[in-house]
């Protein structure tokens, strides 16, 4: 029993290094309310209904149809037949790391100095005064993942943020969200380092680089396991004089290696792998790589060719984060098709629409709509409610926060968007956006965050 307890302490000790830089975000209090007469889509792909949602203490307290009684005492907000959905989630963003204005002095998204920079954390680059955050909010985005860029095989850690104005990035961090690790396939790493006559300069060089790093991580993990075992033995010997220990003094821990900590976090299943990968054949090889080292790929990002291997992605439980119609801007995107997202969905795999763009993030609903319509024209059965899951529930799942947000469900965070038109319409504007039950955008009331940068020079832009 003591031994087990000590083992837990040891594991906790090694994990503690990952839990630094904690979130300081606390939703401000708000009056309980019930939003009535809304066309509600809870984000489970099951269609919509005319109903109400009641919110208290930042959480969804109850959901009902209009013919069911609402909780009596809460303040009623009549949605007037407008459309209510979960907050939009972007799994692939660089807001804050590549802010506007986009000068070199502000360009902090890619530590392109070595093919393996798993030691960098995207949050340490985030500028919370980036005016792109409120623009994304105007598109209904309540949660986003900020990732390091894709120049490197291992780009570093991502961070999941709540899209609220804060003086610090800690004040934006999604409490308890797991970290992600950005990896990149294909053209970018080999171009950046090959261009410097350095490895990798080919796709096979990319793979050699991944494998070497994972082997290093396994060795590092073993060092810590050995240390934890020795510490356990020492503690047992010290407290009970039972058993034997080679240690008459506490063993000293291995020197921390930030790069390895992140990779070991993946091997332990605590950090989620977000792998930039365009081509189907490369994704298939990355799946083999993950098997070789015993980790799970959470999502392929920019998965332009996911439609070619929907079966493989479904079998391996890997999400694909995709654009609706981006293509042609590089050779590995040349086979991009508008039907990609719908075909991944039809194959039974997890489909997500992402932006990777400070303009695209403002209209993920439209991008999902384009992808949906392309699928319908092809004869695939995808409807507006399924398309909504591509920017809500499935995105939350890939970020490891589906138990807290991504759908409208009792007990979840009240992250919600009230739209002027059906959300799959080009005319739909997010009119009111709630994050943890707090109105962060309300067009009718003229409420929208104004960043420090905009103050006094751009306030008129809503």
């Amino acid at each position: 029993m003591t031994k087990l307890w000590l083992l837990i302490v040891g594991v906790a000790l090694s994990w503690a290094v990952c839990a630094d830089y904690p979130s300081t975000y606390e939703p401000p209090p708000h009056a309980a309310f019930v939003l009535t007469h809304a066309i509600v889509d809870i984000g489970e792909g099951q269609g919509e209904f005319n109903g109400w949602v009641s919110v208290a203490d930042g959480k969804i307290a109850a959901i009902g149809r209009m013919d069911e009684p609402t909780p009596g005492d809460a303040l009623e907000i009549n949605a007037g037949g407008r459309w209510l959905t979960p907050g939009v989630i972007d799994v692939h963003s660089h807001l804050g790391d590549y802010p506007s204005p986009g000068y070199r002095a502000h360009s902090d998204g890619n530590e392109a100095t070595s093919p393996v920079t798993a030691e960098v954390w995207a949050e340490h680059s985030v500028w919370p005064q980036d005016p792109q955050f409120p623009l994304a909010l105007a598109g209904g985005v309540t949660t986003l993942q900020v990732l390091p860029g894709s120049a490197n095989l291992f780009g570093g850690r991502s961070v999941v943020l709540k899209n609220i104005w804060s003086r610090t990035v800690q004040g934006m961090k999604f409490p308890g969200a797991p970290y992600g690790l950005k990896m990149a396939c294909g053209e970018n790493p080999k171009r950046v380092y090959g261009g410097r006559s350095q490895s990798p300069s080919t796709r096979m060089g990319n793979f050699a680089g991944y494998r070497k790093a994972w082997i290093d991580a396994q060795e590092y993990q073993k060092k810590w396991v050995r240390f934890e075992k020795a510490l356990g033995e020492y503690e047992l010997w010290r407290t009970s004089n039972e058993g034997e220990s080679d240690y008459k003094e506490p063993p000293s821990p291995p020197k921390r290696n930030l790069q390895m900590e992140t990779l070991v976090g993946v091997l332990k299943g605590e950090i989620l792998v977000h792998n930039h990968c365009y081509r189907a054949d490369e994704m298939a090889q990355i799946i083999d790589l993950s098997r070789e080292f015993g980790y799970q790929v959470t999502a392929f990002h920019h998965a332009v060719e996911a439609y070619k291997i929907g079966d493989l992605l479904a079998a391996n439980n890997i999400c694909s984060a995709m654009w609706a119609d981006w293509w042609q801007f590089k050779l590995e995107s040349f086979d991009g098709i508008k039907e990609n997202v719908a075909m991944v969905q039809a194959a039974g795999a997890c489909a997500i629409v992402h932006s990777d763009s400070a303009t695209g993030i403002q209209r993920l609903n439209q991008e999902a709509a384009k992808a949906m319509a392309a699928g319908q024209r092809l004869g695939l059965r995808v409807d507006a409610s399924v398309a909504l899951t591509w920017i809500t529930r499935n995105a939350a799942q890939a970020l490891g926060v589906a138990d807290q947000t991504g759908t409208l469900a009792v007990g979840k965070m009240a992250d919600m968007v009230l739209w002027s038109h059906p959300p799959m319409s080009v005319y739909a504007r997010a009119e009111t956006v709630f994050i943890d039950g707090v109105r962060r955008l309300d067009r009718a009331a003229g409420l929208s965050p104004v960043t420090d940068f905009e103050l006094g020079q751009r306030e008129e832009v809503f």
Partner: protein
């Protein structure tokens, strides 16, 4: 060269239906997607010759049933690079800029166009039938001359070799001309002056007796056409303060036809642009304050320009997804307060007027039959063309992308 062009023209003509095409049962939209009446369109030799209900077909006519779906004029992108790059990220496949400072305004993109590019049908697939193929600034702020194309593959692709001259005076462009906005504007004006001197004594240039010419003869000829108003000058400029200076400086050439592009802060100086009747090309989706020239970037800029009575058209500025998203951009403008009709106009009649394209951008008797029949509201992201006609000829909407989709739907048995 002239003979080649003649052959090209004849090929185009032979593509056109010599006989009549009767397009039946299409909804002619007026003020909104819900508006309009069901009509037939008679098309002869690529021209709309009659519009009315239940038109009687001529003997031998071919038919196209619109099934009461809406019809619009083909969309016109006022700035794209389709045909200049197969893969825009691959430097070797790009031809949209020149990096030889011996040539500036004389650069012509039409000589680099690939009329067989697989990108072409992807544009027509989204209802875009014509486009201005625009050079990017390479080593000179005068980037050269744009061409007009039809988005149909083959010999008919190129429509007009020279449409406009393009000058870049945005924040980063001054590095090509002395490092200051002041020197960049002065250099642009000095080049025009030089073209005036050239016009006065072209022989002096040919005998190399006049040392005052810094530019090549092709540049001077091109700039002379700009100065004399034969070819409009499109200036890419963002900051309100710069727009004022550009309008003032180029306004001193009475014949010069100025068009502003990008023009992020045009809405701040709208009265000036209205007074000068200066058209503005905007990219609706560019609402980021990406630099200090663009602090005034906003999503509702088209609405502000419309309210102020400024002429405007939309452009994509891109060879790929933004080009196909031209109608999406127009839809976004509507969501931001522009009327549906004004948004459609900004991608049809307005660009036709700015570029002097007679017969394009409108559905009326005598107009060129660039027509798109849609399966829904043309500005909706969920809508798509069911038929596209360019010069009255049906465009094959099958793309390489369709072939890819078909292959993998079958391989994975997805239906």
């Amino acid at each position: 060269m002239k003979r080649l062009l003649l052959v090209t023209t004849m090929l185009v003509m032979s593509n056109l239906s010599a006989n009549e095409l009767l397009i039946q049962n299409v909804r002619l939209l007026t003020t909104s997607f819900e508006s309009g009446v069901i009509v037939d369109l008679r098309v002869e030799d690529g021209i709309i010759t009659e519009i009315g209900a239940d038109l009687a077909p001529s003997p031998g006519a071919t038919f196209l049933d619109g099934e009461n779906q809406p019809v619009t004029a083909g969309f016109i992108d006022s700035g794209t690079t389709i045909g200049l790059a197969e893969v825009s990220g691959l430097g070797v496949s790009r031809d949209g800029e020149q990096v030889d400072d011996d040539m500036t305004a004389g650069f012509q993109v039409y000589l680099a166009l690939n009329e067989d590019s697989s990108l072409i049908p992807i544009a027509s697939n989204d209802g875009i039938t014509r486009g201005l193929i625009v050079p990017e600034a390479g080593d000179s702020n005068y980037a050269g001359q744009s061409a007009l194309v039809r988005f149909t593959r083959g010999a008919a692709f190129l429509q007009q070799q020279t449409v406009a001259q393009h000058l870049y005076l945005r924040e980063g462009d001054r590095r090509r001309a002395g490092g200051s906005r002041s020197s960049a504007l002065a250099a642009a004006l000095e080049a025009l002056e030089e073209s005036a001197r050239y016009d006065q004594q072209p022989r002096a240039f040919n005998t190399n007796k006049n040392r005052s010419f810094n530019l090549d003869e092709s540049d001077l000829v091109a700039l002379s056409a700009v100065r004399r108003g034969k070819v409009p000058l499109v200036v890419q400029v963002d900051r309100a303060a710069d727009i004022i200076k550009v309008v003032t400086a180029f306004g001193s050439y009475p014949a010069l036809r100025l068009v502003l592009a990008s023009a992020t802060e045009a809405w701040k100086v709208a009265p000036l642009l209205k007074a000068g009747n200066i058209p503005v090309l905007i990219n609706v989706m560019e609402n980021l304050p990406q630099n200090f020239d663009r602090l005034g970037a906003r999503l509702d800029q088209a609405t502000l320009l419309a309210e102020a009575g400024v002429r405007f058209a939309f452009f994509s500025g891109s060879p790929y997804s933004e080009t196909r998203s031209l109608s999406q951009a127009a839809g976004i403008a509507v969501a931001q307060g522009l009327s549906w009709q004004q948004a459609i106009t900004a991608i049809t009649a307005a660009p036709a007027e700015i570029w002097g394209l007679k017969g394009l951008g409108r559905i009326e008797v005598g107009a060129i039959a660039d027509l798109v029949i849609w399966n829904g509201d043309p500005l909706e992201v969920t809508s798509a063309p069911v038929a596209v006609l360019i010069d009255g000829a049906r465009v094959d909407l099958e793309t390489r992308q369709d072939a890819l989709a078909k292959r993998y739907v079958e391989l994975l048995n997805l239906k």
